[in-house]
Assembly symmetry: D2
Homo-oligomer: 270 residues x 4
């Protein structure tokens, strides 16, 4: 990890904190929730209601969706982001969405509170530098096959472009195991905690790809020391246009949020 200037944790250095509205990322536990994709205004409004109800502090929704096949549903684009923005305002929730093209960065930075860089773009260095020029917090997801060293160097691209608000997100790596969609590498959480001062969150939805594993892995992530979670939930998962298998229902999300809250309190007193 020798080449890092800004991402490396210096001895005794605290986890970086920064504020978004009332939220202090890096100190308050970050609970991001919402659907894989924004599908309609009705759907995202309904989702936002549940997200607010469960006490999550950020609303997510994909609008530019990277999909393996060009013929799959690829999101509603800029129009979708405006729907997400409206839902966020309606429920007083900061919003996050993924950007995949340098040419959309300005628009996304204008309408979203956080910008997400997805796993497939972790080494899209032009995109990293472009979001590094905005003043929005960046949620950087670990690439499917990225080592921790590569992950931190990708954060370094953003930091060295003059944006110090970077959140790392472990979301599963690719292995030989077919039972889960990816293999959640939870040891990355305490490992990154020793290597960097950046906040680290976990996405158990994409990591496992299975609804029934999201709750136990969320609790495990909290116990491992993460600073937050990103969870996919959908008002009616069986009708979702993407990732139907892994999205929680509203009820499931309520239950998860309640248990996660207790687990965070327990951890603080351990």
């Amino acid at each position: 990890m020798d080449g890092l200037k800004y991402a490396v944790r210096k001895e005794g250095q605290e986890t970086t904190c920064f504020t978004v509205g009332n939220l202090c990322v890096g100190r308050d536990f970050l609970l991001i929730a919402g659907p894989c994709s924004v599908e309609s205004e009705t759907q995202i409004m309904e989702a936002a209601k549940w997200v607010k109800a469960c006490g999550a502090n950020v609303l997510r929704g994909g609008t530019f969706k990277p999909r393996m096949s060009p013929y799959s549903f690829r999101g509603l684009g800029r129009e979708g982001l405006l729907m997400l923005e409206k839902a966020g305002k309606e429920y007083d929730l900061p919003i996050i969405t993924e950007v995949t093209d340098t040419r959309d960065v300005e628009f996304v930075a204008k309408h979203a509170d956080f910008i997400q860089i997805g796993a497939r773009n972790m080494q899209n260095f032009s995109l990293l530098e472009e979001v590094g020029k905005t003043n929005k917090p960046i949620l950087l997801k670990r690439g499917m096959t990225a080592t921790l060293e590569e992950f931190l160097n990708s954060a370094e691209y953003i930091l060295s472009s003059n944006n110090s608000q970077v959140i790392l997100c472990e979301r599963g790596i690719r292995t030989f195991e077919p039972y889960t969609r990816n293999t959640l590498d939870l040891s990355a959480v305490p490992a990154l905690k020793t290597l960097t001062h950046l906040p680290i969150i976990v996405d158990p939805s994409h990591a496992t790809g299975r609804r029934e594993l999201v709750l136990p892995m969320s609790l495990a992530a909290v116990a491992a020391g993460c600073d937050g979670l990103e969870i996919e939930m959908h008002p009616t998962p069986e009708k979702a246009l993407s990732d139907a298998e892994q999205q929680l229902t509203g009820e499931g999300m309520l239950q998860l949020a309640e248990k996660v809250k207790k687990a965070v309190e327990f951890r603080e007193n351990l």
Copy 2:
């Protein structure tokens, strides 16, 4: 997972329990601790004292050590097992050791309370059948590159040989990430819980290969729902003949045991 007869969890089936002395595996939280290798009578006695002190319920110690190189320290063999047995008796702790050769099974079954099958032998089918003929509980470790389906089929070899006392152990899989020794696949815990009725424990020492990651990953494993932990500890890790990097000190073990106990209680009330 279609070919499984005995390992598969039937609807509504509880986790299998079985007793070893006062311990009820599958119900009581199993905390196995001790050195990677038995190195001398003094060393294993000293280790056992710590293991007892921290409230762990099984003493481990390797005596037949599978090592990459034929020129590495390979354990004290049968003599080492007798030392381990003595330490177990002295401190009233059931003991566990690994067996690697069918010809040693009878001896190990006579002197140990649990028999361990290591990751490298998970598909040594002769050995699985041989330990399946004993009446001792078998701790079966997941192979470095084994899918959950292969893991459960290996358990099936033991179960179908008429030994129903099998404990599964997730200990990390091999991936591209060099920072940790292996990648701990904690999602295997809740996944296996849905697939099988066998108890499942976690070995964070071999999974991470780094002392500082053992505690957070132990707590994460508890939160994920495991039935126990196997932890490497050594009275003087810096002098250990094998796995020096990952063994906890006695003090570290005390601290871990205390926190794990609280985490188990918290989990039960969540």
Copy 3:
């Protein structure tokens, strides 16, 4: 592979051919050679002389270099491409360079004869669609962790954007083996031959990361049925600003080209 419309090979369909100058890609054996990076006009001119001398038919040179660290040499950018273009004209060689940003596609399409999409951008779908709008042949490299299905779907993004000139390139996948930089998956060559009509070439330089393995793996790739090779060579590899370990010398390149030529002839008569 069900979702593919254009990339899939229909029964009896021949490998796709298309012409670039005098070269007929898909029929003539494609031998792309040149330095990892264009470093100066002198260097690329010297490299081009060797490339021409050995009978290779395309000159490569990186000008927009994706690098793990933001502080590494990242290429000369547009200026470098102009140097490469000059060298190509001087030695009557079509040229290829990588593009990493949608905003550079127009410039690269204007000055290069082939456009390369690197492994890290195999799922940069905006970039795929942008190069799909040009009329230049696209060399699409397999992602480090991409399945064949994902690889073909990425080709489909280009094909469905109305550019039918796509060449696939196997360049090694990421595995647990540390001896080589990546693991060259040569079985991908005959596998892709059955799945798609697109030409398939192999890059043994990035796959192995070791100069001494480039020649044997080039010959193996020819025997496996590839339609071409991409080889890194540098007039003075020990002074290279990137990938010094894997670039052949001019002499090494001459020797390789001669043997590959014979191997291609042998294959045709087998």
Copy 4:
């Protein structure tokens, strides 16, 4: 690779050769062929006829079959080996079969000309030492997840037990790619050639798991520099009790042997 005493290639050292009947392993190209499993005397006799006809020099047949599930066909055991021995004598072919249990080594060493250690037992160190005590050549297959360093250390176990007749076999490693059964790591061939003096052969049948890939990968293996091949063939593959998908027919084997012979000649004159 520092700990190796016997397996390491010293500067200028030639590939080790040893004779089995008229065959000089390490100098003559080794072509091992035969069914995955010996299923009956009729089947192995018929297979042997094809093997002889195609000019292969060793007859293979599994008799102790390691299978994922205890309920799969696991071979005919000792009786099967006697059938294989009879077929070998009838057609004047040395025979090879796998041993999986230390207690069978003496019997196998008595009846077979070569002893095979399978991928799953590459780190079954007791078994390695036991075959190291015989005077038969050992074919050691690379474990599914073994690094080259681990592979050579396993050879070292045999060599240091006083058996210098070891042949290494690359048979595919486990990766994320689902299209092939394993990923054939052909770069292991030239890499091992620089690291060790032991002969190295390739098994494209288990590596790919697909009949149509066996021929191209055999030719690629020859071009990469291997000292032999092990190919699965069955008189009637569609009726095979194991590995039906990957076994060649007799006709397919004839065609392969003829092309491989030409490829070996070509390689020698290149």
